[in-house]
């Protein structure tokens, strides 16, 4: 089942590559990714939400001498992220129907391979296999930005690649280290996550340079760059602004989640003591990121850049939730990952739609758009509200849970983080106001009155055409947005339908975590006990 989800897009990519015409390849890519989505829905049906164990497990030997396996599995954490991936891919392909007009076939091959590698990374339960998919993700994304991107696309693509590479190569070294420490303790060299969870890595509170802390640092660096956390985020605005709309959607929707997913799946449970010790740093960085992202977003003249910086802010919430280490925080973090995928993905789609029409994303050139494109304005408003977490939308549930979790673990963190909600509302609504209301902007034609339908009107029409024909959303575009809007409300009103699937896994995770706290406590007390033995 999971193997199907990984290899079907490869097969699809091969077929798409062989199709001669652009139009047919586009259609084929859409159909294949649609099939992929419906197949992935079967996961939802067969998933047993009462169990925290891995499901749909597939294990085959890959490199036996190193204990590396082709080991796939799914739990409540990765389930929703896999579905998000398969859900967003056909939507973005549909959304790029007209905007990608060159090298169409290669574009869809890249999209399908990207989907394959993302799903692979989400379901790999073997660290080396995970690393393979993790690195593999870079190549199609790199090509998407570099080939179909904007003016400074090459710079942005290379920056994206190198940044991510720096983080991940050290992670590879840490993976190797982890495997050998595992061998020391269990006698078997293995890269399986389940085996490595059991390894107790040497840890020393007194110094940073202990094996566990160093390995945690290597993992955390890789994931923090991907998320991206505050000082490491500079590749993100470049990549987002230069990427074509589908690239931005996938980048924001799924790729960034790989970082937070990595924290949740690998960094936290593999290095429990180090995580606990480093938690205050990450909480601090994430809170700073929330505020910083929002403030920087506020001054952006470019819509896409604004949305990109809002991602930095939103993902700060996710990390804050994860490092709260309680059920509320982690559920909220997971929920916010999905929300961000849906609403920021949708925002990028919307910005892409207006960009297709005018070839400009500058906020100051717009104004009064609501009168010209009313349907567009409605969709934009709904997504904006979801992004600023208005109750009834998905964003509210996520942020509420995160703040609750943060409050429970350390109240002061939630006091500061909650201001981010206000800033978020400020920049989103400010943009909405500028673009959709007020006097008609440079790029927006005056609205013609209904009476003017006769002869003398010719001139006005000409004038409008000269500016840019701003037609409202087409049926295709509406079809792209409707599923997203439905999800916004569905996730906002019935969060339990989503959360209960992940509940068992998260509870299991948190329970393990409190056991770790116990072991730390025990380690400290036994330390005293040992000292006591020495001095009778």
């Amino acid at each position: 089942m999971l193997s199907f989800l990984i290899f079907f897009p490869v097969l699809a990519a091969l077929i798409v590559a062989l199709i001669p015409t652009d139009r047919a390849s586009r259609l084929a890519a859409l159909v294949f990714s649609g099939i992929q989505f419906f197949v992935s829905l079967l996961l939802l049906k067969d998933y047993d939400s009462s169990s925290a164990a891995l499901q749909f497990v597939e294990v085959y030997k890959w490199i036996p001498s190193f204990g590396i396996q082709y080991f796939l599995g799914l739990d409540g954490i990765s389930l929703w992220l896999v579905l998000l991936t398969t859900f967003l891919t056909p939507l973005t392909i549909l959304a790029s129907w007209n905007s990608i007009s060159e090298k169409v076939k290669s574009f869809h091959v890249c999209m399908l391979l990207l989907e394959m590698s993302m799903i692979g990374a989400l379901v790999s339960m073997d660290l080396v296999l995970f690393y393979v998919f993790w690195e593999l993700m870079l190549i199609p994304m790199y090509l998407l930005v570099g080939v179909w991107g904007g003016e400074k696309r090459i710079y942005a693509a290379v920056k994206f690649f190198i940044y991510t590479m720096v983080g991940s190569v050290l992670m590879l070294l840490a993976i190797i280290g982890l495997m050998y420490y595992g061998k020391e303790q269990t006698g078997i060299l293995s890269a399986s996550l389940l085996d490595l969870y059991k390894v107790n890595l040497p840890f020393d509170l007194a110094t940073f340079f202990n094996p566990q802390m160093l390995m945690f640092a290597a993992f955390a660096l890789a994931f923090a760059i991907k998320v991206p956390l505050f000082p490491l985020h500079t590749w993100l605005p470049d990549a987002h602004v230069q990427a074509p709309t589908p690239g931005s959607v996938i980048l924001a929707g799924v790729l960034l989640k790989m970082g937070t997913y990595g924290f949740l799946r690998f960094a936290l449970p593999l290095f429990p003591e180090a995580t606990l010790q480093a938690a205050p740093i990450f909480v601090g960085i994430s809170i700073f990121g929330i505020i910083y992202g929002a403030w920087v977003a506020m001054i952006q003249p470019d819509m896409k850049k604004l949305v990109a910086y809002s991602s930095v802010s939103h993902l700060g919430y996710v990390v804050l939730g994860l490092f709260a280490f309680n059920i509320e925080g982690i559920s909220g973090g997971l929920y916010q990952m999905l929300n961000h995928g849906v609403s920021t993905g949708a925002l990028f789609l919307l910005v892409g739609m207006i960009y297709e029409r005018t070839h400009s994303r500058e906020i100051s050139k717009y104004g009064g758009l609501a009168a010209v494109m009313p349907v567009f304005a409605v969709f934009f408003l709904i997504i904006t509200l979801s992004s600023i977490a208005v109750p009834g939308t998905n964003g509210f549930v996520g942020e509420f849970l995160i703040l609750l979790g943060a409050y429970k673990s350390a109240p002061w963190t939630s006091y500061i983080a909650v201001t981010g909600v206000v800033w978020g509302a400020a920049y989103m609504l400010w943009m909405y106001k500028k673009v959709f209301f007020g006097p008609a902007g440079e790029l927006v034609p005056e609205v013609e009155d209904a009476h003017h339908d006769h002869g003398p009107n010719h001139k006005v029409e000409h004038h409008g055409a000269h500016k840019h024909p701003l037609v409202d959303l087409s049926l295709r575009e509406i079809c792209v947005l409707i599923p997203l809007v439905v999800l916004v409300f569905w996730m906002g009103i019935f969060p339990n339908q989503f959360l209960e699937k992940s509940k068992a896994s998260i509870e299991h995770f948190v329970k393990n975590k409190s056991q770790y706290e116990l072991t730390i406590y025990r380690a400290q007390t036994s330390d005293i006990a040992v000292r006591g033995d020495l001095n009778p």
């Binding site: 090298k103 080396v128 570099g146 090459i154 290379v158 190198i162 590479m165 590879l172």
Partner: protein, 492 residues
Amino acid sequence: MTNLAFPTLSEALFLLPMAALTVFGLIPITIKVLRRNVEPSNLLSLFFGLGGVFLALLGTVAQSKLDAQAVFSGVLTFDHLANYSNLCVLLITAMTMLLSHGNVSTRGQSFAEHIFLICIAAVGMLILNSSVDLVVGFVGLEIMSISLYILIALGHEQRFTKEAAFKYFILGSFASALFLYGVAFIFGTTGTTALKPLAAQALILSSANRLFLVGLVLLVAGLGFKVSLFPFHAWTPDVYQGAPTSVTGFMATGVKVVMFTLFIRLAVEGIFQADANLIFALQVAAVLTMTVGNLAAIVQDNIKRMIAYSSVAHAGYIMIGVISAAASKNADGAGAALFYLASYTVMNLGAFAVVSLIEKEERGQLSIADYSGLGFKYPVLGLALTIFVLSLAGIPPTAGFLGKFYLFAAAFKEGFLGLAVFAILNSVIAVYYYLRVIVYMYMKESHERIEVGKAPLTFAVVTVTAVLCIVMGVASVPFYTPAIKSISNLIE
């Protein structure tokens, strides 16, 4: 030196691969002589060359069942290590011949001599792979090197090739002299040039007679020159650039395989344990080799120079395996180095095959900018070059990634963490210039029409190597296990 007894007939059978290569290599030029200097058709020459390689391959496969530890009074061995490297060398030889057939600078003139020289160089390589005696190794080294000097000089293009040939000849002779001088010191202090007895004395001698160490250092310098370790790497870019592309591929892969095989033999026998400083010096050399190679590659515009510098860096990576093997008698490091050599061979030959397809007689077409728009105009070729470049950069799922993984794992296991960290950071630097190729191929528009020459055989090489690159990255076990086995047999 060992007392040589006259070989028995069964021993002589081991020479069949070398004999086949020599005889079949001689046929085309014999025809040329008999026809009074009229070149036989290129395809005929190629046919005989490939025939020789094929017979040699059969012989090697037959030998690999035997695991003959020592023949010819113990100067040659046909153990698993020799067989592994021999298989690599023979595949390289075959591909080089195919590339030469389609390459501009070898097309049409003195192809018969070309085939002959490749065959003879391969014979030298086979001898080197099998030698467990330093003097016999030197003979193999010289057979190989002298053939290569002439092969480079045979290139069609005038200025750069002659310069390259001359430079390689002068510096190479100097390195051979260093090697031989080292052997002389070692013989003087130990009374033997055979590896095993030598290794037995190494630990005692290193403290008793420092001249032994001098010999060892000279030996390493000679080897280092051939595999282009820092600081003996300076010749590499000039020679790689000037040589005909097929010959460059041959040098870059074949010479590295055989010289590292000898390096691995020395390491596994424990000769480098003679002095702790020696291992430390090798570590420093390895780190500097990678760093210098990678940093210099960044600024290159000529693709052959870029690959040349990158191959310097790869020599540094391979040294990690050699050092891990040298520090403790363990199969992991040497096995990883051997696997890396095999994967490096595949990806590098593939890259040179693509270069050979693109290059043109009049204007070279060798700058990276000449690759603009290649990816979309020739999708298969573009994909192949992408695979090679990603593999060279060590990105999964390619041979290069697993090669690095095995090397780093070995380094970690033997406690060379620092070395692994340096190597891994270096591979990030390397990503930058490898990506440049992809940037030009896919993200820049071509200014002029890029044309690919018609060379079906070269296309075949590109396809085979690209497929191998992926296969070795996905299913590495059939390639890695023999590498490990060949070393563990040696250790026991």
